[in-house]
């Protein structure tokens, strides 16, 4: 029943013609759905967020995961009763709530459980906190807290499970992803760090699986970046994942060269990658050369692929615009930059031997020739002007729909015949 909004990457949405029998069945289904919806709204209007209502939201969301309001009702059900009450500012890694407002000892729950099992509860006059002694009251509190955490963990994991079949069916539904994120945020707030970390690492695994099913699901890529960010954060005692994330983009590219998101992600990771490697000038230059070779190999087999040319341009801009773009290898000399640019222009021209109708090649040659002039602070020479006019001519023929653009370029660079 739920409609998959948006592009489905070439998978046609089927339009169905119905028999009278099917139409009757559909009418039945619509009636049931409306009844369910009315019931949920009725309870929500009365601020009734009991477990019964929670069960109703399960039924309704399975039929229509895009019903944003119902996800909210579900959240409220969890907060108002199913999940434990969170006292403000409390978290497993922070100080325990004690009668003394100045208590600042940070004790991990692990310490406490061991102390609980060996020590007998001390006499009530010991009101201090800390490893040396606990009050009976605080001990009870700790036990409840642990039970709460276990209960919360179960509920939160069940919620994650609940969304999985919905995600499989509607992998691009914003509301499901946002609900998952909300649950995962609860995980950080309510559960001990090792447990929370585990759950978040599983989440990373989930995004890998989603990206295997549809490599260009940009929701999954953005989501993955968010998950990685959390895993790297202090809340989850994280460390940098930049190397493995870079490797992940390499893998995705080898599975599908056209993966724009993978190339894009890669470009975003490079500055931090090189920083964390403490890459010196030589290492940076070598890295640049390697990336250039890699994209060259890709363009060699995929000259029509826009994502590849974007990445190539990203590398070229690293040479040309050292001010605006963070450069991979800032230590390149002017001479080296010019050499690279010339070399690229030459090898791209070689591609024309076999791919003389790939318009992106002509665009690249046009752009890079101008980059070269820009780099050397000069105007195009006679031969270059001839080339530019020629390539523009090819573009006009191959892409007549953009004639306005080609005319603009002609005018801007004084290339009118």
């Amino acid at each position: 029943m739920a409609d998959q909004g948006g592009s489905n990457h070439g998978i046609a949405r089927t339009s169905r013609t119905r028999t009278e029998e099917q139409r009757q069945k559909d009418l039945e289904r619509i009636k049931d759905y409306r009844a369910l919806e009315d019931e949920v709204r009725h309870h929500a209007a009365k601020n009734d967020y009991s477990p019964d209502v929670f069960a109703l939201t399960s039924k309704l969301l399975r039929l229509n995961p895009e019903y944003y309001t119902v996800w909210n009702v579900r959240r409220r059900c969890l907060i108002s009763g199913l999940l434990s009450k969170l006292s403000p500012g409390s978290s497993p890694s922070k100080a325990l709530p004690t009668s003394s407002p100045t208590a600042t000892t940070t004790i991990s729950s692990a310490d406490f459980s061991s102390s609980l099992s060996t020590e007998t509860p001390p006499a009530p006059e010991f009101q201090t906190t800390g490893k040396s002694g606990t009050t009976a009251e605080e001990e009870d509190e700790e036990q409840t807290r642990q039970q709460d955490q276990q209960n919360d963990q179960q509920i939160l994991q069940k919620e994650l499970h609940f969304t999985i079949p919905l995600l499989l069916e509607s992998p691009k539904c914003y509301w499901i992803w946002s609900y998952r994120l909300w649950i995962l945020k609860q995980v950080i707030e309510r559960l001990p760090v090792p447990v929370a970390r585990n759950i978040w690492e599983e989440e990373l695994g989930l995004t890998s699986k989603m990206l295997l099913r549809d490599q260009r699901n940009f929701h999954a890529w953005g989501y993955r970046r968010h998950v990685v960010e959390q895993l790297e954060s202090p809340e989850l005692e994280g460390k940098s994942l930049v190397e493995s994330e870079f490797e992940f983009t390499t893998k995705k590219i080898s599975q599908n060269l056209s993966n724009f998101s993978a190339w894009h992600s890669r470009s975003k990771l490079i500055p931090r990658l090189l920083d964390e490697r403490n890459a010196n000038d030589e290492a940076r230059k070598a890295f640049f050369e390697e990336e250039l070779n890699k994209i060259g190999e890709a363009i060699n087999v995929g000259p029509d692929d826009q994502s590849l040319w974007y990445y190539h341009q990203f590398l070229m801009l690293n040479l040309v615009n050292s001010v605006e773009h963070p450069t991979i290898a800032p230590a390149f000399t002017q001479e080296e930059r010019v050499t690279y640019l010339r070399r690229e222009i030459e090898s791209i021209q070689e591609l024309l031997e076999d791919y003389d109708d790939a318009k992106l090649i002509y665009e690249a040659l046009f752009d890079y020739t101008l980059y070269l002039c820009q780099l050397q602070g000069r105007e195009p020479n006679e031969q270059e002007e001839k080339d530019l006019k020629g390539w523009l001519g090819n573009l006009k023929k191959l892409d007549p729909m953009r004639s306005g653009r080609w005319a603009d370029l002609e005018r801007d660079f004084g290339l009118k015949e």
Binding site: T14, L212, S254, Q255, E353, Y355
Partner: protein, 490 residues
Amino acid sequence: MAMGSIGDTLWDVVICGTGLQQSLLALSLSRSGKNILHIDPNDYYGGAEAAFSLQEAESWVDRLATEDKGLFRSASITKPDVVGLSFPRAYSLALAPQLIHARSELLSQLVSSRAYRQVEFLAVGSFYIFKAPIGPEQQPSLVRIPSTREDVFSTTAISAKAKRGLMKFLRFVLDYDSPEQRDAWKPFADKPLVDFLQEHFKMDTELKTYIITLTLSLDGRINTEDGLFVVHRHLTSMGHFGPGFAALYPKWGGISEIAQVACRAGAVGGAVYMLGAGIKSMDTATDEIELELTSGDKVKTKLLVRGDESVGDEPSISRLVAVVDSPLKILFESTVDGAPTPCVAVVALPPGSLTTPGEANTDPVYVFAHSSGTGECPNGQSVLYLSTMATSNSKEILSRSLESLLFAVDRDQVPQCLYQLYYEQAAGVKQSRHDGLILDLPGPSLSLLMDDASLNHVREAWKKVVGDAVDDAEYMVFTAREPVDDDYDE
């Protein structure tokens, strides 16, 4: 229906033989309500596409020794003096180890007829070219054939320029049916594909070998029209049922499994099955035939469908089936994330590539390597099916090809051969023949790839049985028998 009463019915059809075509016919008629008697003189299903236990292979070879006509000849079994061969029923050696492209018509028909659910399909993985060593110190190697853009990107075996050439060809083939491309290849339609590749693409020998290998052309001379069709189907089949593979292979003996499933469907539909019963003699009247079966029964039928077993005009092939004592793991590595582990791999030995002393092979040799995942041999072993054009020295060529391949797989611990079955198979007749009350389906195909064209003969036969009242669109289209059957009924 009790056995004794088969003589009482006037059968609508008697089908003789349970080879693939006859079995598919039985499947196609399984909802027709026709009275069908399906017999086979052998005591096993599958006919020329059967899969044998070692015992059955031995009986088959013995039987062939006494017959001198027929499509199969010169069969022999060799059991080297090596320990490791398991008990006879642990093996299921396929007489017709054909690959089925994901986009083949056969699969669509198995799906629409609901028969596919009873077959377990395995992925066919990489295609390799055997490369003879260059110098005395070099090792022979296996080079994977790139058939996707990503493969071409990743491979280090081809130059940048050659990669562009290959990409241009792949682009051309994917679009080969458009008017523009047709103009380019039509003049070469009946000429060998290799000539077209040379003329139009200036392809070097290596790339030509890649392309021809994808067609699995036994003489290497497949014509341009047929060749482009097959390469196109290979490329468009890639990823069709999942990442990383373009072709499938049925578990438990390949095509024989499909024949059995089809017959089972026939039986569920009411057809009567008799193995070990052939036709002893026949008496044709105006609108019915009386058959005397080797079982002694006399039956009457309106139509008799057989498989033509006469020898056709085209060249024969030689085949060697070898069981080896190694899982040959390197051949079955999955190269793509999320892809199923392949159970079949293809290795081609191009003309002139044999390494061992002796004459060069003038025709390609194709090897289908089957892991134990196919169910055709026990764990830890593999079955190799080698095929080439039958010539005066083809038996020796196959033997040396086996040696060369095993050496290329593992030079230090060369896998040992535990069992060998050799035979030659003649080409059958290519056309159906309908003579009044008798319809002869064409002979079995020698192709290493499931051929869509052969399915047309089954369709024609079906039409003859059901008549004009039934719409052609209903061919092999059935609804599920069980109420809770398919997940995707649209």
